[in-house]
Amino acid sequence: MTSHVREAIEQVIDAEYGRVLAVLTAQLNDLAAAEDALQDALIAALDQWTAKGIPRSPAAWLTTVAKRRAIDHVRRDHKRAAVRDDDLDTLPASDSEDDPMTDEPFPDERLKLMFACCHPALALEAQVALTLRTLGGLTTEEIARAFLVGESTMAQRITRAKAKIRAAGIPFRIPDPSLLPERLDAILAVLYLIFNEGYASPHDQTQKRDLCVEAIRLARIVVDLLPDAPIRAEAEGLLALMLLHESRRDARLDASGSLIVMQDQNRALWDHAQIRAAEHLLERALHRRRPGSYQIQAAISALHAQAPTYADTDWAQIAELYSALMSLSNSPVIALNRAIAVSMVDGAAAGMRLLRPLASALDTYYPYHAARADMLRRLGEREAASDAYERAITLCQRPHEADYLRKQRSALDG
């Protein structure tokens, strides 16, 4: 009996933690108080559900009970502080917890909570941690492990961020229209960062929860909760982009865990249902006529997904999309990717011409040297190619990517 109650509680934590917490936070206007109340309610659930059975809507039960607990707390604190707030008297009394109204509408306030967690008044690493903790329901330990910091450091980071939300008056609401686009960008940046963190350490068995899956889940929430309007375009673009990356998951690593670059991947292993879902999303986004960098990146990724082979990829269109991306943000990394695409259309010499101006900006960026090495190899300049691979290997921080580069360099001698 108890074990099946425990299972129900675990299930509701996995599926609904963020949603319940968001409703409570919006109602109490205090994230820390909402978390405490939800903890109380989870403890109460263990007893009550064992005694009286699991309620029809566990999430609604938890919300109602947590809210009552929180109100009791507020009332007690105010009594101590010689009650200033007359409004408290109008709050409903905390009655029995037998039958919380499970039929009352259960709103979805997660987007408001996300805007608070990703507020620019919080440091980026705090935004990331807080989003995973509150909306993802990850434990502090899980987040600490994912970002390679000590658990106490991470706990402190999260506690400080929550304290700042409260003390500085960071609101739990959808920002005004004038602020909305940039605040939404901040949320999307946090989600993409979470995704990339997961993508960079694929199949890490020590992680209980996969950051890529988590980022996709959160991005879906953003897409679902935004109005069906142009503002949603970039959120859809990001979700499509992540789904496209994720569709190659099973093809990315060989049996020994080394990275397989896209060029050498078995395309039959790509998740084609997921690719179609992403294409559908991207199409919807593009119809909104509000282009943005995630949509363009997703479009590039979709062209890769549609190509039967690496050589048969629509490189001309990819080069054009990278040009469009450069007009949005002129980053040398984007210019590097464009150079690679151009080299596939107009040849390695044309690619090399575009690489040259990037030399100083990307001197410590290993993909630049890897791309240069590949173009030099194609031009038959073996020695220069070998040197460039060497430089790329030295700079590369990720073991499975360095392995790949070593293989490429040894292939030069063959």
């Binding site: 008044a121 700042k164 003390a167």
Partner: protein, 116 residues
């Protein structure tokens, strides 16, 4: 002439204080306030929340940039202040970004302590 007097101190000192020391300091501030009133000096004064609650806003190219923490550039010095009520941090940021100085320097927003 009007002057603003800004109280600088080591935040580590505040956290090390015992409740008794804190009470002693409050009494000293209350005495200082009484002294000002006695000499007929009009004043307003507030204690600020700790520096880790600070948010900085600067406007560049017409865009408000909001960051965590206090001032970033050490050559910027305090040049004035407003104290006002805002609904929440976003409201405060919206107001702060309209302060002319935000376009050249930066505005540090700090919540004021409310003593119960």
């Amino acid at each position: 002439m009007k002057y603003i007097m800004l109280i600088y101190g080591d935040p580590a000192h505040d956290t090390k204080m015992t409740p008794e020391e804190l009470q002693e300091e409050m009494a000293q501030y209350n005495a200082f306030g009484a002294m000002l009133r006695n000499r007929g000096t009009a004043y307003t004064g507030e204690a600020l929340m700790p520096v880790n609650t600070a948010t900085t806003v600067r406007v560049r190219d017409g865009k408000a940039l909001t960051t965590d923490g206090p001032f970033a550039e050490t050559h910027e010095v305090l040049g004035g202040f407003y104290m006002l009520d805002a609904n929440d941090l976003d409201d405060a940021i919206a107001i702060a970004s309209q302060i002319p100085g935000a376009a050249r320097g930066s505005i540090e927003i700090r919540p004021v302590v409310v003593f119960e």
